[in-house]
């Protein structure tokens, strides 16, 4: 018996037709003339929605139209943090459902997303941040979410790497501790949904841009694509970053500003940082991925842009603050940097559900909180499309809440300073 790593044996295994590489989604084919549902955008939210449309509602005549490549937008550009310790009851209920779906994700979709519970620490450096942390902890506990305000002695015990010194610009006064806070492999989430949806008959068309919408008497009838016209009974857009551009084709405006969010990773290090460390006041979040890289992000850019450039100002600001928290990282090199275009809303909550155009649905307003919501967005948007009526969990996030002066002020979002 040859050892498993013997080169010839590996070569024979590779060349043998007995073990073909699994193709997640079938090869591209011609677009059909019409579908029950067309989804504009091929990111995590769109793929999740197609998966739940097929699985829960039995709607499999579904087509996903993606301008670039699968999950190449914000699904590939986030920092992969999953948590539910938000501030508003509407937000907490919504994200808690997402966390539940994430926990069962690998089992249900038979795809390892490397879901890893780390414990999430939102540090507080001011009296105002301590007050918000206490407020969040009480709202969370009321809704059954594991969340508590802890003090420096406990923080030092749970995160021995943190600099707890008083001799810094912003000493750590406390932290909102959320044990279920997790990270997962973001690409795997999209691939799993894509494979699951494709298996049930959903068509996924990459390199297919939507250039216009066909709307008759206020009802959507189909879309004009770079590969011809496609008719559809129902159409959804899930294109965070480009939301306003697509909504303009449908003829309505949104309370959204497109603002870049930058992030970076360090060279891989041995595993040392188990926890997810966040500071709203310092605009820092950092966790260590399963590859050993430190994944770091901060606040959104100071002005709006449809561009994914990186700036030195951002890194100076982020890393300066991070070194105050973790001074031993001073010699570590940054390896990669990137940016994504986020949909910022005035109340830091998403905009989901029905639109002024009949049979046209929207999943938007994903500022800095979109990845963690991927499964619950898929589930609730599929329900919304199938029943032409918003799912209970997303009712508070309806578009007209701004006109009704009924915003959902989500001060628990990562981009909000306290």
């Amino acid at each position: 018996m040859l050892p498993a790593f013997f080169p010839l044996k590996i070569l024979r295994y590779g060349l043998s037709g007995k073990y073909p590489a699994e193709r997640f989604i079938p090869k591209a084919q011609d677009l059909k003339k019409s579908y029950d549902v067309v989804i504009i955008g091929g990111g995590g939210h769109a793929l999740a929605c197609a998966y739940y449309l097929a699985k829960t509602h039995g709607i499999t005549n579904v087509c996903i139209l993606e301008r670039g490549y699968l999950a190449g937008g914000n699904t590939a550009r986030n920092t992969a943090i999953i948590r539910s310790n938000y501030l508003t009851p509407e937000g907490v209920r919504f994200y808690e459902q997402s966390l539940k779906l994430y926990r069962e994700f690998s089992q249900e979709l038979d795809f390892n997303i490397l879901y890893s519970e780390r414990g999430h620490f939102t540090l507080a450096h001011t009296d105002a941040a301590m007050r918000t942390s206490r407020w969040r902890a009480e709202v969370n506990k009321q809704l059954g979410v594991d969340s508590e305000l802890i003090y420096p002695d406990q923080i030092a015990k749970l995160c021995p790497h943190l600099n707890m010194s008083d001799h810094v610009r912003y000493p750590i006064m406390g932290a909102l501790f959320h044990p279920p806070g997790s990270i997962a492999r973001h690409d795997a989430v999209a691939w799993a949904y894509a494979r699951g949806a494709a298996k049930m008959g959903v068509e996924i068309h990459q390199q297919t841009a939507v250039n216009g919408l066909i709307i008759e008497n206020g009802t959507v009838k189909g879309v004009e694509t770079s590969r011809g016209t496609v008719y559809a009974n129902r159409v959804m857009q899930a294109v965070a970053g480009n939301t306003s551009v697509v909504a303009k084709m449908a003829g309505f405006r949104l309370p959204i500003k497109t603002i870049p969010l930058q992030a970076c990773v360090s060279v891989p290090l041995k595993p040392f940082l188990d926890q997810i460390i966040v500071s709203g006041s310092l605009h820092v979040y950092v966790s260590q991925s399963s590859r050993g890289e430190l994944v770091m992000g901060g606040s959104t850019d100071p002005y709006g842009l449809y561009n994914t450039r990186s700036t030195l100002d951002f890194k100076e600001g982020l890393l300066g603050h991070m070194l105050e928290l973790l001074p031993m990282l001073g010699e570590v090199k940054v390896m990669r940097q990137w940016a994504g275009m986020t949909d910022m809303t005035p109340d830091f909550s998403p905009i989901m559900g029905l639109t002024p155009v009949k049979n046209y649905y929207i999943d938007s307003g994903w500022g800095t909180w979109g990845f963690k919501a991927t499964p619950v967005c898929g589930m609730t948007m599929a329900h919304t499309i199938a029943h032409d009526s918003p799912h209970d969990l997303i009712k508070p996030f309806y578009l007209d809440r701004f006109v009704d002066y009924a915003q959902v002020g989500e001060k628990g979002a990562a981009s909000v300073g306290h």
């Binding site: 949104l254 309370p255 959204i256 100071p302 449809y306 002066y405």
Partner: protein, 98 residues
């Protein structure tokens, strides 16, 4: 660092400025209804391309207008707000009529 040309103070680092959002024609606060006011307040054109926006030089609290390309991140033009707006809006009128 990116540099912006302030009409009052000349070229300064972009970190000295605050973004104020699109220049939109404001409805008359004395006669407007809540829906139109909400539209003006919240809805954005969020244009990909050349836009006209409010900016503020924070150290001197000087508000002005900039034309900027949101795809290429280029600042095309900056000028004083007085070049466009030349009459005062009286916000107190609305309170008096109620």
């Amino acid at each position: 660092m990116k540099v912006m040309n302030c009409p009052l103070n000349g070229p300064r680092n972009i970190s000295e400025f605050a973004w104020g959002g699109e220049v939109k024609p404001m409805p008359d606060p004395a006669s407007v209804d809540d829906k139109v006011w909400a539209d003006w307040l919240f809805l954005e054109n969020n244009e990909a391309g050349v836009v006209r926006e409010w900016w503020c030089h924070v150290p001197t609290s000087f508000w002005f207008i900039a034309e900027r390309n949101t795809i290429t991140d280029e600042i095309l033009k900056t000028y004083a707000a007085g070049d466009v707006f030349n009459s005062r809006v009286e916000f107190s009128k609305k309170a008096e009529t109620k």
